[in-house]
């Protein structure tokens, strides 16, 4: 989604962070279920109890640069198979 108003064909922001989250999701400790992961570049910056805290820490630690905050799905169980897809949202 996004309006064609000058963005050209630039790669969407947070590609790297989304890919990392997808890759790491099957390996995350199930105790992290429901928590919020702060990702920047190729690393996890931290794991937080609330989304707002993760966002606050993102701005505090990284500054006003794009970063990814994503919730570890509640009920996560460790699996050897890769996730079927990235976290998704239905059409608003």
């Amino acid at each position: 989604m996004g309006e064609q108003d000058g963005s050209g064909d630039a790669e969407p922001p947070l590609n790297e962070e989304c890919a990392l989250f997808r890759r790491l999701l099957p390996t995350l400790d199930p105790t992290m279920s429901g928590q919020f992961v702060l990702v920047k570049g190729e690393g996890i910056v931290g794991v937080f109890a609330t989304e707002e805290e993760a966002i606050r820490q993102g701005f505090d630690r990284l500054g006003a640069v794009p970063f990814l905050v994503r919730q570890v799905p509640p009920g996560l169980r460790r699996s050897n198979s890769p996730p079927a897809s990235d976290a998704r949202s239905g059409p608003p």
């Binding site: 108003d5 947070l14 989304c18 993102g58 500054g63 794009p66 990814l68 949202s89």
Partner: protein, 152 residues
Amino acid sequence: MISVENPELLETGPIVTIRVGVSEYAESALRRGNRAVPEAVPARALIDTGSGRSLLRERLARTLALTPVGRVEFDTPGSTDVPALEYYARFWVDRSTSFESKVLAAPLPSGNLEAVIGRDILALGVLRYDGPGRKFSFDFGPVAGRPDSDLR
């Protein structure tokens, strides 16, 4: 509290003019980096109980230089894995009242709408829609324990 009387409420729906700006967290980060803090800008927002997420026109997010804090992908009837950025923005109801919430950037169908206030923000208060009276109001009231939204 938002309170609007509109003789054309039936035709237009509950639209309110608010102001949208960077969040306090982003503002602090910008100041630390000696960067300019964009002024909040007026925006026409539709209150939509049919939308689970609040939306912001992507162009407005760029105008305000909002910082992406998330991204989701979803499928539409014509496309799959369509990416949409999420921003954490501040919404000013009046000069002294604002709240902050994560919003999803989206193309909006009506050219004069800049935002949609969905159920994630409506969860913060009480919406009253008076059809015969052609008016509506949204009272934030006490805000309790919502992690990603904050009345200030």
